[in-house]
């Protein structure tokens, strides 16, 4: 309805630049969701540090930047894509929130698998998209998820039907440009919907990066549906530009005996906020959610994680590690929520932070909320410096002080990197570590 569209656009106007929120051809349900999301954003606006979920993360710089939606007219740069593409993987590209079909590299997708832009799929596979899109409860909670819901125009839709194995990993490259919209920095709203049905298998990598340095904002939502007995490996590599803002909400819902794993490596952006929500919604499901953030300068990376154990006999394991240099700040807040009846839950959440400078800061808040009585749940967090005994031990064998520190930092971080199951991704992350560490070349020779 055009009147409704005009109304919501007005409400969101201070931010969205007067764009209508409704899109032609979308379901009535989505139209309603968009409208209420736009209202919710308009009512709340940017979260302030007085809100518990943003206590340590001041997003005022994002608000101050006054971003406006990117027009989505920039053509992806072929060299940038080549640099970001992983060998042995299929690839699709989203640029400034818009799917770029001509840059896809899809080699022999199995029959029934759909990989396309979300806008296109919303038209051609309306019923299928509607069945899965915006079904995660967590999407209602976060302000940036609401903003994405109100604003997204396109993104990616990946559908692996029942019993099908996606042989090659699929890399979704989400590129942003820093090209100004008139005088304002751009913001893009990529939306990814990844559906892996019952007994199907897929490996999916999200890579976030920029064409060029400069201020821009990526406000993303990724929804993952992993059906009964599905096997899903998910990776997210966040390498936005160092002046960029990255706010992303990731939801996953697992079924019976689903094996799901996700690794998030957050390296770029001035401010990165990851909201990670996992709902174990079928008996015997298993979720692994690991992460690594390596920050320097004045970077801030915040991960807010919520794991919902709704069914019995599920396990979830989270290991998040942070390496903080300069004046950077790492925030980790994780909650394991065991619902009534979710007996035999096996959950473990660990957050470890390594401070490499005296000005770096880490906030860590793992929490448990348990409403079942036969469960095994643990959590732990540490914030510390390099072990002085270990540094001295290495030096006493002839290894220089900087090399010793780099070697120990590498060991700390590689604990997460080693768990990456796709060779090309793991090697890329190792290469990043070598380039990031002051004595990375010594470490490369040594490991």
């Amino acid at each position: 309805m055009s009147t409704e569209g005009t109304k919501t656009a007005t409400i969101a106007a201070p931010f969205v630049g007067g764009r209508p929120v409704n899109r032609a051809g979308e379901s009535a349900r989505l139209a309603t969701l968009r409208a209420s999301a736009a209202e919710s954003w308009a009512a709340r606006g940017f979260p302030s540090i007085h809100e518990e979920a943003y206590r340590f993360t001041n997003v005022a710089p994002i608000e101050k930047a006054g971003c406006r939606p990117a027009p989505g007219t920039t053509v992806p740069d072929a060299d940038t894509l080549t640099r970001l593409s992983y060998d042995g993987c299929d690839r699709i590209v989203i640029c400034d929130g818009r799917f770029e079909p001509s840059f896809s590299r899809l080699e022999g997708l199995p029959a029934g698998v759909l990989v396309s832009g979300l806008a296109e799929a919303s038209a051609s596979q309306a019923e299928l998209v509607d069945r899965y899109l915006h079904r995660a409860e967590a999407l209602a909670d976060g302000p940036f998820a609401a903003l994405n819901t109100a604003m997204f125009e396109d993104g990616a839709f990946v559908y692996v039907p029942r019993g099908v194995t996606l042989v090659r990993p699929l890399q979704v490259i989400v590129l942003s440009t820093a090209e100004r919209v008139e005088t304002s920095p751009p913001v893009a709203f990529p939306r990814l919907l990844l559906v892996v049905e019952e007994n199907a298998e897929a490996k999916i990598i999200e890579t976030y990066a920029a064409h060029d340095e400069g201020t821009y904002w990526t406000c993303a939502v990724t929804e993952i549906w992993a059906g009964d007995s599905a096997r899903v490996e998910h990776y997210k590599i966040q390498r936005e530009g160092f002046e960029a803002f990255h706010t992303a909400t990731q939801t996953v819902r697992t079924g019976r005996r689903t094996a799901f794993s996700s690794h998030c490596v957050s390296l770029g952006a001035a401010i990165a906020r990851h909201d990670v929500n996992a709902t174990l919604d079928g008996e015997g499901g298993d979720a692994i959610l690991n992460g690594l953030y390596m920050l320097s300068g004045a970077q801030l990376c915040d991960t807010h994680m919520q794991v919902e154990h709704r069914q019995p006999h599920c396990s979830s394991h989270e290991l998040y590690k942070g390496v903080l240099e300069g004046k950077s700040r790492g925030v980790f807040s994780g909650k394991i929520h065991v619902h009534p009846g979710a007996q035999k839950t096996d959950a473990k959440q660990t957050n470890r932070n390594l401070l490499l400078s005296k000005d770096a800061l880490a906030n860590s808040q793992p929490q448990l909320e348990i409403y079942a009585d036969d469960v095994k749940c643990t959590h732990g967090s540490t914030v510390g410096q390099l072990d002085a005994d270990a540094v001295f031990y290495l030096r006493s064998r002839g290894i220089g002080v900087d090399a010793a520190k780099s070697l120990l930092t590498y060991a700390f971080a590689s604990d997460v990197v080693e768990r990456i199951g796709i060779d090309a991704v793991r090697h890329d992350m190792e290469a990043f570590l070598f380039s990031w560490l002051p004595m990375g070349d010594v470490v490369r020779d040594a490991v």
Binding site: L394, R395, R397
Partner: protein
Amino acid sequence: MLLEIKNLHAKVEGREILRGVDLQVNAGEVHAIMGPNGSGKSTLAQVLAGRDEYEVTEGQVLFNGQDLLEMAPEDRAREGVFLAFQYPVEIPGVSNTYFLKAALNATRKHRGQPELDAIQFLKLVREKVKLVGMDESLLQRPVNEGFSGGEKKRNEIFHMAVLEPVLGVLDETDSGLDIDALKIVADGVNTLRGKDRAFVVITHYQRLLNYIVPDFVHVLLDGKIVRSGGKELALELEQKGYSWLEQGVGASA
């Protein structure tokens, strides 16, 4: 002279532990330093290796005529000082072999020798690991992580065998070892003995000295060397304990 310690005073956390140690070690010699707990033995070892928690307040240490105390720990190691730790440190995530390769190549570079490639290094390692009777599987494991007490001590001697120092300081390498492990460790050390290399063997018990027979034995008490002698001094200490020397210290003070 290889090592010359003159009137060495050192303190940790404000407390003076070494109170005027004098010791001279020539190449080819093995010196044992014995003493009761708290006498300063481990402090001496840590000061020689360059641990910065220990503050040297007085005295001098010359190594091959150079001021050892001026050197960073890694430079001491590269110049040929090796400390076998009483409590070897576990380092998760750093492979025993890879770490040792980095250490050896840093030392070789320092000495102007060509660095070893992976194949040359592996050959060397295989040879040395036999020397200490260490299980080869320990090479791939992270440094000391999950090693038994005995395995850790053997690993120290293995590191020493690979790095081929000029001066090996063994800090209570015998503690926590059963007799079989003790013999293996001692055999490893004895194999490394030679006219160009010296050892300072720090121990609480005489037992180790049955297997690593020293040229000289010194008794460290209350931060000072109060008695020096030949290997027979160790046997005397075994029989009499340290108390008769403690009384001596009290009388002379």
